[in-house]
Symmetry: C2
Subunit: 439 residues, 2 copies
């Protein structure tokens, strides 16, 4: 039999894998998505990518950082380049408590575990809590990387809808009751209260105490993922759910959006008993987070005006948010709606009935604009009328040009729809996960 | 009820965990070990620790490294501090192929996946292949961190004995046959062919092709863990199992022992189909490995005499190996035996019948010497007459002093044994995992 050329979704190809019968059950459905292939095209310079979630690092003081890291290695290299503990560098854990205090959290450094980005924290928490078949409640839509972790541990995701004030408490309570009535109560509520990825909305202050109360009543642990909390465009912050119920909230934090994503330094703040297990789980996952990276962040926090730096980031993202909202208003065809983010990286757009954002994506990329189609943010096949636009990385001018191109593609889809009553679609097989936010 | 003071192994404490009923089944038995508590004591400066596996980095050219990292951040910081792909930096993957060529491996950079230390590679491979209840064959004794990963995925470990030439092929074949006869063939052979951790032995050249052949015949995938392969004291290397059967071996490599452990840069070389799944699994675990760390290693390999640096490491470890073997010969009481490592970090010592190395450890630490007791390196309770001595980190003088102290503790245990026919033991509850090799 002749070897076939590689091709995503080509069943003949999978039959060529001699290890096919050996994989664990959890790998089922673990296939690279069509969108991943598109991302390769979308990363060409002529394409305006509104698809990825890369922070814009241009405002970082590279020269002074470089000097500082040089000193760190020259003076303290034997520590910085050596193994550390799975728990994380003590001084950094203290500093992390100062960072979290900005959102009302009072915590002891012992209860902080440093992780390789908050993605690892998410993976570890899922490892600790989710047996195959367990249910995780998550907002619909939700963060792609979280859905990936839940799927890796064979947990089932039940989505609960948001509105402009974030997760809807009544719907959460309904979902918890419904899941429990099936005999196996939900294990976790996974939530991004601030400047939601991908929805761009924020949980209102009134709702925070209700969400916390509902979860406590139903015996469901809250996993609060908060990478964007300090990126409110007016400098506004919200009380962390963790501050409202320390014993029933696991908090995930990250320096990826407030300092540098390529260092992969995140953390988990967990109630004491969970934290002990978390350290053991982290040890079997990576032994320890990179010492050098932890010391770089620690020195940076100790010596740089990190709050001033976050303010610079905020301003740069606000400028981009303004650009995308202006462009959307100016160019998008009637029938499209979108959220109005007060912070963070994302706008969530809903297109008219009949348009399928996943089927439309190849045409958009051909027109030199990329976005993330909504289906990747649901585990249940929803989202085909939605798309996530990231305004974090391109310049305001590029953002405007990107939205102009996107609007033109949408117009032409809608023309087809009006003329033929349908838009020709590419065949799509089942729910697929888009590439990571790093694209 | 009054709160009780924290204490390892205190059952009352676990009852205080309000989340106790929520954990996943895989967390069962996940408790910090007694040995971990001892490690805290063992890290005091007056204690000679022969317990940990920390590489000795004193020979690293810190000033020139520091300068180089400064340039990297100043010139290329927007890349170095940004997200990358889960697959790893392409240039580094090419360089990794050059490193592996030293042990006879011909590989394509596409089939290399960069991981957060090879521990992460191990965790990812176990994730891909092991369902709960699956069997992994491993040498007895085996690497603690591997046993931790297998346990995290609820895989069962069957140990196969080694002799001075490493894993015994006949015993491997017996074990594979026996496991398969129970209806569920083993999934993986996990092996450390070179300068074994903790046994200090090396798989002979003759046995390598037999092991590869046996595994292929039995349909068992080989996971070859090779952190020490370039640390043969006479500069000798051995053909990697991967070089003998590229389609049936997943190879794990690391820069932790040949460059700097605190960067946490390791890799997996896997057959193509496995590699694709590996990238997806890694993405859900950490999104991507730290870009900065990958670029540091890449620049280091491109501009430093890295082979000369490895030679320096080898010489430093050889001097320490000589020191420990001389001291063992000089001081150890009759009835003790030990392996004779030609490379790597470890000597595996067997003590006379009646001595329990785990029970003896607190007395050793009191006498200001620490080791890793053998039980941690088995998942089946064996190893109580063994201990691992690491000679990698202390100076030769400290090593000699440590062995002298250890021998004195052993003598006094043996005296007790001769006088009373038994040594008073501390009660020990079930198999426990020691802390990581990083201690």
């Amino acid at each position: 039999m002749a070897l076939q050329p590689p091709g995503a979704g080509d069943p003949a190809r999978h039959n060529l894998d001699p290890h096919l019968t050996r994989y664990a059950a959890r790998t089922e459905g673990m296939t690279a998505s069509e969108i991943r292939a598109l991302f390769a095209v979308a990363s060409r310079p002529e394409v305006v990518s509104l698809a990825g979630g890369m922070p814009n690092l241009a405002a970082l003081p590279l020269d002074s950082l470089a000097k500082q890291v040089q000193e760190l290695i020259a003076e303290d290299g034997l520590v910085a380049l050596q193994y550390g503990s799975a728990h994380g560098v003590p001084q950094l854990r203290e500093q992390i408590c100062e960072v979290m205090a900005l959102e009302g959290i009072k915590a002891h450094p012992d209860d902080v575990v440093v992780t390789v980005g908050s993605q690892m924290g998410l993976d570890m928490i899922t490892r600790l809590f989710c047996d195959p078949g367990d249910t995780v409640i998550a907002e619909g839509p939700s963060y792609v990387g979280a859905l990936g972790s839940f799927s890796a541990y064979q947990a089932r995701v039940v989505h609960v809808a948001m509105d402009d004030d974030g997760l809807v408490p009544e719907l959460l309570e309904e979902a918890l009751t419904s899941v429990a009535s099936q005999g196996r109560p939900a294990k976790l509520l996974y939530t991004i209260p601030n400047f939601h990825n991908p929805a761009g909305v924020t949980l209102s202050n009134e709702r925070r105490s209700r969400i916390v109360e509902i979860c406590r009543k139903h015996g469901v642990l809250i996993v609060e993922d908060n990478p964007y909390g300090l990126l409110g465009f007016d400098g506004q912050t919200y009380p962390a759910l963790r501050s409202l119920d320390p014993d029933n909230v696991v908090y995930l934090g990250s320096f990826s959006k407030t300092f540098a994503s390529g260092l992969r330094v995140g953390w988990v703040l967990a109630p004491h008993a969970i934290r002990e297990k978390l350290v053991l789980a982290a040890e079997s996952a990576t032994l320890c987070p990179p010492t050098l990276n932890q010391l770089i962040v620690s020195r940076y926090l100790a010596t740089h005006d990190w709050k001033g730096q976050i303010k610079k980031f905020r301003e740069s993202y606000r400028e981009r948010r303004d650009a995308i909202l202006t462009a959307l208003k100016q160019h998008m065809p009637p029938g499209c709606t979108w959220t109005m983010p007060d912070g963070g990286f994302y706008v969530w757009v809903t297109v008219p009935e009949g348009i399928d954002t996943k089927a439309m994506l190849p045409r958009a990329v051909t027109a030199r604009v990329a976005y993330a189609s909504g289906t990747g943010f649901y585990s249940d096949g929803l989202g085909s009328r939605q798309m996530r636009l990231s305004y974090c990385y391109p310049t305001p001018e590029r953002i405007k040009e990107g939205v102009r191109r996107l609007a033109a593609v949408l117009e032409s889809e809608m023309d087809l729809l009006r003329t033929f009553g349908t838009v020709q679609r590419r065949p799509v097989s089942g729910p697929q996960t888009p590439g990571p936010d790093t694209a």
